[in-house]
């Protein structure tokens, strides 16, 4: 089972990387979204997948039974899901605003910083 999990995670991660390498801002955002989904699954896999009962302490018991899923990765992933969502939502808002002001979602055309000029205008280092 763990090998199938690993394969799926690798596919999601690889697709995410490929998208992040794009110049289209929306594709980059999709890539980030995929990578965070892949990371969540990776953390999930790290906790072990032998037990599949929810980690809830039974009525009358005082400690978690040994037949429950690992609670620690779940707690970490819960945080990660929400953070990943915030990041992607904010990035999408940013992309929309950039499109409104610059009229493009292609990073090659976002040149406000480059238009300020370069420190190497003389075409080579000069001594002194």
């Amino acid at each position: 089972m763990n090998l199938v999990f690993s394969l799926a995670i690798a596919a999601i991660m690889g697709a995410g990387i490929y998208l992040v390498l794009s110049r289209n801002v929306m594709r980059i955002i999709f890539g980030v979204s995929l990578m965070s989904a892949g990371t969540n699954l990776l953390i999930f896999l790290a906790g072990g997948l032998q037990e599949i009962a929810p980690p809830v302490i039974e009525k009358g018991e005082e400690v978690l039974g040994t037949a429950s899923a690992n609670p620690l990765p779940q707690a970490l992933i819960l945080t990660a899901i929400v953070i990943g969502f915030s990041l992607v939502a904010f990035a999408a808002a940013l992309a929309l605003q950039v499109y409104r002001s610059d009229g493009t979602i292609d990073t090659r055309e976002m040149t406000a910083a480059e238009d300020l000029g370069t420190p190497f205008t003389t075409g080579g280092a000069t001594n002194g």
Binding site: F5, A11, M13, S33, L45, P55
Partner: protein
């Protein structure tokens, strides 16, 4: 207390220099000169104690855990150096006050402040007993030299020379620091006093070779020895008072100081002395050759200073007590005449505005006292009797003849001293007495402030020559005692009878006079040889310097070309390379094996997720890509649900739905049709990168999941959730109880992201089109 008072006097004067000059007017500089004078008197009063063979030690705790204390040591040698530093410092302060008389007082104040700070650093260097403390002061002198060389900061050459001096001496300083650390590693102490006491242990240390090599690097860069000699002539961009003080009388002698200090420690290492003799001799030759080619007044003096430093280094390398006496004697002699000559050069340049030696002439009519001082000082430099320089040169030859070396150093010394005689003639006779019709327009004559320095030093040179035993007994004897550890009978006198040394002196003076007479034709002929240009100059330094800058700008242009795709690709490629290296180096450390039963439902969902992810990369429309991203998200929610994580599934469903809604809303406002933003070539390369990354992720994830997870923390949470936090849902208890602060942070992130998104998206009354350019 002595050391603290000394340093406080100098540092305090440095702090007060500007206000004193601003308020004191023309009395400002003399007032300030009282501070180095007081230090000089304070030091001179220690002379009887030191001459009796005592060593004054004092220590103040600083970082005891590292063995670094403010410990100081005053012995004969450091006393001699301190007296030179404060004595010439007094004269330089007076001189600089007059030199900057026409400049704004704030400028003069800044200059004097730097000079006095430099004096503090110099005193600290020669007085420090703890080698780390000495290094701190040593670096401070490099830094202040940078500020003083580049004092005319609006001149590009001055800035360049300042940077060069800093890079060369600062780089050497780092080597010295490494050497000091190795000494500390070998002996467990940084105290110089202990180092001499345990020198046999140091010589037996396995680090001996690196210690010596690094120390030599530090000393050779500071004292401008071959192949680092080029920075000193360039440093003549400094205002003349600084040149006289830093680059002839004091700072450049720090390397000599260090070598003399450690010569005794490394006495049993034969190649230490041999290296010094060879490097010193080479430096002497190169510098005297360059002196013949130099055109500027100060440049000629600078080259002769380099030659003198070479003589000192060579003398330290020679064995025998006579060599030590000769070293100390020449140190004093050189400080006297070279500082005086720099002062005279400064007067000539200051008065005429002309720094080119060939264009100066007949200045004796307008600068009579300067001419007198120049003649006296240059006679001492030429080694004529009855000046102190004569005695010093006799000792130089005696040290060479009595050492175990062959005749080559003697021949070199004869040549170099002849050039010195020639230089002496060229810098004193020619600009002041010959070429009368070349006399340039003189802007202003001599003032008392400009004369007191050169006259004191030049007359001091003749006084020391006439009664040499005074200085021999009071200063040179104790200094030699401090360096050799044994009392040496130092008797200086002008007349030794007809000795081999006297014969050599005669040869030197004859050759030197010939050189001075035929200076111009030799000079012109040497300058015409194009091949000589830059042979001993800073061409190599420039190559390294510009090469570094070009490398930086080229790599910046390649890596930071303004294309976001390139940035991400570089980052990803680095990650892939590091992951690959890590896997390669791990070898078979992480075996992969299948664990857990294969469940069809989970398998189906995982396949769905993988297909969705790959579809995202293949679809041409953004909406299609969004759908595929949604599939991956919902699939992972299902996986959570199927593996005992209902909380995660619930959250993932909610978030994914919200995300799809938001992204759809955004996409509705964007152009849907997607054009390729990457060339086919780029897409192929990216696909390879992504595939490699995926392969590494697979190997990593598979080997990670092959081993059983560490359950320690999970067991802790499982055992304590109910008993301590009274919650049965362990995941929730972890989030809101055990890691409550973390969750608070997460909530804050969501809140800030919402705020920021709202600020971005709210309608503005005016469109915000940023101005280009």
């Amino acid at each position: 207390m002595l050391f603290v008072i000394l340093l406080l006097i100098c540092a305090g004067a440095a702090l007060l220099a500007r206000p004193v000059l601003l308020m004191g007017g023309r009395f400002g500089a003399p007032l300030l000169a009282l501070a180095p004078l007081a230090a000089f008197v304070l030091l001179a009063r220690q002379q009887p104690t030191i001459a009796a063979g005592e060593v004054i030690l004092a220590s103040y705790t600083w970082v005891p855990s590292l063995g670094v204390d403010f410990s100081f040591r005053l012995d004969g040698f450091s006393l001699l150096f301190s007296l030179l530093i404060t004595g010439i410092g007094t004269l330089v302060t007076l001189y600089a006050g007059a030199y900057f008389a026409e400049k704004p007082r704030a400028t003069a104040g800044r200059f004097l402040s730097l000079i006095l700070l430099f004096m503090t650093a110099m005193l600290g260097t020669v007085l420090a007993d703890n080698l780390v403390v000495m290094f701190l002061f040593w670096e401070a002198t490099s830094l202040l030299s940078f500020l003083l060389v580049g004092f005319d900061s609006e001149k590009a050459e001055a800035r360049k020379a300042a940077l060069q001096a800093l890079i060369v001496t600062g780089g050497g300083g780092l080597a010295l620091f490494a050497s000091i650390l190795l000494i500390g590693l070998s002996l467990g102490t940084f105290s110089y006093t202990e180092v001499i006491a345990r020198s046999d242990e140091l010589v037996a240390s396995p680090w001996l070779v690196p210690i010596i090599v690094l120390m030599l690097l530090g000393a050779f860069t500071k004292s401008a020895q071959v192949p680092f000699q080029f920075w000193l002539p360039n440093a003549m961009q400094a205002p003349t008072p600084a040149s006289a003080y830093l680059h002839s009388a004091t700072m450049v002698k720090l390397g000599v100081f260090l070598l003399a200090r450690f010569d005794h420690v490394f006495a049993t290492v034969p190649w230490f002395g041999a290296t010094l003799v060879i490097v010193g001799s080479l430096t002497m030759l190169v510098a005297s050759f360059e002196a013949l080619r130099a055109t500027g007044f100060k440049a000629v003096l600078a080259q002769s200073t380099v030659a003198s430093l070479g003589i000192l280094v060579m003398l330290i390398g020679l064995n025998g007590e006579v060599a030590v006496v000769a070293t100390v004697g020449f140190l004093i002699t050189h400080a006297f005449y070279k500082a005086a000559l720099f002062f005279c050069a400064g007067n000539a340049i200051h008065a005429t505005g002309e720094a080119h030696l060939g264009r100066l002439g007949g200045l004796a009519r307008v600068l009579p006292f300067t001419a007198l001082a120049a003649v006296l000082a240059s006679f001492s430099m030429a080694g004529l009797p009855p000046f102190i320089g004569f005695i010093s040169k006799e000792y130089l030859f005696e040290a060479q003849l009595s050492s175990g070396w062959n005749a080559i150093p003697v021949v070199i010394a004869v040549i170099v001293n002849s050039v010195m005689v020639g230089v002496a003639g060229i810098v004193s006779i020619r600009p002041f007495f010959l070429n009368r019709r070349r006399t340039p327009k003189v802007r202003h004559g001599e003032t008392p402030g400009l004369l007191i320095g050169p006259l004191t030093l030049a007359l001091g040179g003749i006084a020391l020559g006439i009664v040499p035993n005074v200085v021999a007994v009071t200063l040179i004897g104790p200094a030699v005692l401090a360096l050799t550890g044994i009392p040496v009978d130092v008797s200086f006198s002008l007349w030794h009878g007809v000795t081999p040394m006297l014969v050599l002196s005669g040869v030197v003076i004859t050759m030197g006079v010939l050189l001075a007479v035929f200076w111009t034709p030799i000079h012109i002929r040497l300058r015409r040889r194009r091949i000589l240009h830059g042979l001993f100059g800073d061409r190599f330094y420039d190559k390294v310097f510009n090469g570094t800058l070009n490398l930086a700008s080229t790599s910046t242009r390649i890596l930071q070309n303004g294309d976001q795709h390139r940035y991400t690709a570089v980052v990803m490629a680095s990650v892939v390379v590091i992951l690959g290296l890590g896997l390669l180096l791990a070898g078979n450390g992480a075996p992969i094996s299948a664990t857990g039963p294969l469940r069809i439902s989970v398998l189906a969902v995982l396949v769905l997720a993988a297909v969705g992810a790959i579809a995202t990369t293949l679809t041409r429309s953004l909406v299609g890509a969004l759908v595929s991203v949604g599939i991956v998200g919902f699939a992972s929610a299902l996986i959570f649900l199927l593996n005992g994580a209902p909380d995660l599934a619930l959250t993932q469903f909610a978030v994914e739905t919200l995300l799809v809604v938001i992204l759809t809303a955004v996409l509705l406002r964007l152009p849907v049709k997607r054009e390729h933003t990457r060339l086919p070539r780029e897409r192929r390369r990216d696909a390879i990168l992504a595939s490699l990354f995926a392969v590494f992720v697979f190997i990593g994830a598979a080997s990670m999941s092959s081993a059983p997870p560490d359950m320690e923390l999970s067991l802790f949470f499982g055992a304590n959730s109910y008993l301590e936090a009274y919650g049965r849902n362990v995941v929730n208890v972890i989030l809101v109880d055990f890691r409550a602060i973390d969750t608070l942070g997460e909530v804050a992130v969501v809140a800030f992201a919402t705020l920021a998104a709202w600020a971005l998206l709210r309608r503005r009354s005016t469109p915000t089109k940023p101005a280009k350019g």
